[in-house]
Amino acid sequence: MLVNQFLILGAVLFCIGVYGVLARRNGVLVLMSIELILNAVNINLIALGALQGPEAAVTGQVFSLFVITIAAAEVGVGLAIVLLIYRNRTTVDLDEVDLMKG
């Protein structure tokens, strides 16, 4: 298998994720898009690790594990913040969150 199969897929996911975080208005959806990006990263890590030989493969997997764990934490925190916003202004529309500017 070409390593680029995976890498390109990762790139695609990455860019879809980027589109998502920029274009989606709903806070939760933005968080989901972020997960896409992180998955792209993980694909890279594992594919490239596999490419670079045994140690690298292990390192890549470890790295991706850390990413997954922290992603979980981030999502938790993110949802908490979104929830907080929702509670104070009964919306998760990010466009409306612009009290401070300039």
Binding site: G27, I34, L38, N44, L45, A56, G60, I81, L94, M100
Partner: protein, 498 residues
């Protein structure tokens, strides 16, 4: 096969261990005596931070560079100086938080828990010498910060600050991660030194690496709020609790620079063709844009936000020319020294500035420039302190700021080529523009007639006063005897030289 558990050098971890202990004690205290001992938590945090300075000192006295986990975790002078800086900054933050958090009904125990864990992340960052550790410690210092930014739960601005900081932070770390994955993929290693060796070779020339480096640097450019990755800073600073703002603008920014120094000067040293122009651009744009926008601010905190953006520009400048400095004059070490010196001085000045803003805000209940009018007439002490810190930021001798700017100029002219000198002139002009808004603050305090009705004396709580005193002392001392700080900046390098 059998698992051989690694032999650990606990002395090297001592500071972090103390911090972890502090965390535990904090939780415990908060758990056991709920309301009765809210006051205790800040004390515990403060004591814990001070306690963790002790091992830092012992390590410094011991002096030997310690590398663990085949170079993934290093304790050298560089790390120690910065750990000390983080802890000191954290301590001052605790001091200025005590009454702020105490007075409003915020979750107090958790607040300090967050603060200390973020600090733990920073101290780890100072020693992390491989991508994974850097990533983890970055997240460890960031996530609590996201939460702290929104600590004022009922305040819409607080929520907004937290949200913006969080989202952009996550975007940035996502980009950084992708970059790391690429670099890892090319070099097959996550340890900076090894990466450096590989990249120095021909393989490093690949555009792939370029992209990787750019992405990684962007991740930290966000942390240090370099234009155009600064957008979060003003909003977050304005909305977050002021002590946290101070914390972010100093400690978090410093952590970003620490990571940059390690990554750029160890891992990417061979690819200055990539990062030198990038940093040149970032530095120039950052200081200019920061200053220009700051000219139009009417809110002190927001003004300080933009000012810290501009200051970041100054700190980025040494990176732009690091590769051009002759090795016999220290090479990248000189640049690192400049950055660290700047960081140390900047920490003192900026923390002081925020502290005094808070002290004043206790009376004016506002951070608008107008509310400062005539401060000098009813609170001369605060007014003088504030002008001390602001003019220090502006870089007026004999206040510390001048030396910070001076070392940057020095590095620029040391590199000496056209690009460097141009950047130097840009910096010079910017330092003049900057004066305009710093002075405008002083103008409102000292030159305007008092606007407020209540002009009785302002009471400054003890801990806040202590913080003010410390910062003012440092600001003056570093300004008159820059030798003190210069030594630190100099010493900090040796473990780092490739």
């Amino acid at each position: 096969m059998p698992f051989d558990s690694p032999s650990l050098d606990y002395h090297a971890f001592a500071p972090e261990i103390v911090l972890v202990a502090t965390l535990v004690v904090l939780l415990f205290v908060d758990l056991v005596f709920e309301e009765r001992a809210r006051w205790a938590t800040s004390t515990v945090a403060g004591v814990g931070l001070l306690a963790s300075v002790v091992p830092v000192l012992t390590l410094a006295v011991d002096g030997a560079d310690r590398g663990l986990f085949d170079g993934a975790y290093v304790v050298d002078n560089f790390a120690l100086v910065l750990k000390a800086l983080f802890l000191a900054a954290g301590y001052v933050t605790v001091l200025i938080s005590t009454d702020y958090i105490g007075d409003g009904d915020y979750y107090e125990g958790e607040y300090y828990f967050m603060l200390v864990s973020s600090l733990l992340g920073m101290t780890l960052m100072a020693s992390s010498r491989d991508l994974i550790s850097i990533f983890v410690s970055l997240e460890l210092l960031s996530i609590p910060a996201y939460l702290l930014a929104g600590w004022r739960k009922r305040d819409l601005r607080g929520n907004e600050a937290s949200l913006k900081y969080y989202l952009l932070g996550v975007f940035a770390s996502a980009v950084m991660l992708y970059g790391m994955s690429l670099v890892f993929g090319v070099t097959g290693s996550t340890v900076l030194v090894e990466i450096g060796d590989v990249l120095a070779g021909g393989i490093g020339a690949a555009p792939l690496v370029t992209v990787g480096i750019v992405f990684i640097v962007v991740g930290f450019a966000f942390k240090v709020s370099a234009v155009p990755f600064h957008a979060w800073a003003p909003d977050t600073y304005e909305g977050a609790p002021t002590p946290i703002t101070a914390f972010l603008s100093v400690a978090s920014k410093a952590a970003g620079f620490v990571a940059l120094v390690q990554l750029v000067f160890i891992a990417f040293l061979g690819r200055d063709d990539v990062w030198a122009p990038m940093f040149w651009l970032l530095a120039a744009v950052t200081m200019t844009v920061g200053n220009l926008i700051a000219l139009r601010q009417t809110n002190v905190v927001r003004l300080l936000a933009y000012s810290s953006v501009a200051q970041a520009g100054f700190m980025l400048a040494p990176f732009a020319v690091a590769a051009d400095i002759p090795v016999d004059r220290g090479g990248v070490a000189a640049a690192t020294g400049a950055v660290i010196t700047y960081l140390l001085i900047y920490a003192a000045m900026n923390l002081g500035a925020f502290a005094v803003v808070m002290a004043v805000a206790r009376r004016t209940r506002s951070a608008e420039l107008g509310s400062l009018a005539g401060l000098f007439s009813y609170a001369p002490g605060l007014a003088v302190l504030m002008s001390v810190f602001f003019f220090a930021l502006a870089g007026i001798p004999p206040l510390a700021g001048w030396y910070a700017k001076f070392v940057v100029f020095k590095v620029l002219l040391d590199a000496g080529n056209a690009a460097a000198v141009t950047l130097g002139v840009i910096a010079a002009v910017n330092s003049v523009i900057a004066l305009f808004y710093y002075a405008s603050v002083a103008r409102h305090m000292l030159l305007d007639p008092a606007a407020g009705t209540d002009t009785s004396r302002v009471r400054v709580p003890a801990s806040l006063g202590a913080a003010l005193g410390l910062c003012a002392l440092a600001t003056l001392a570093f300004g008159v005897l820059p030798g003190l700080i210069a030594e630190l900046g100099d010493v900090a390098l040796f473990g780092l030289l490739p």
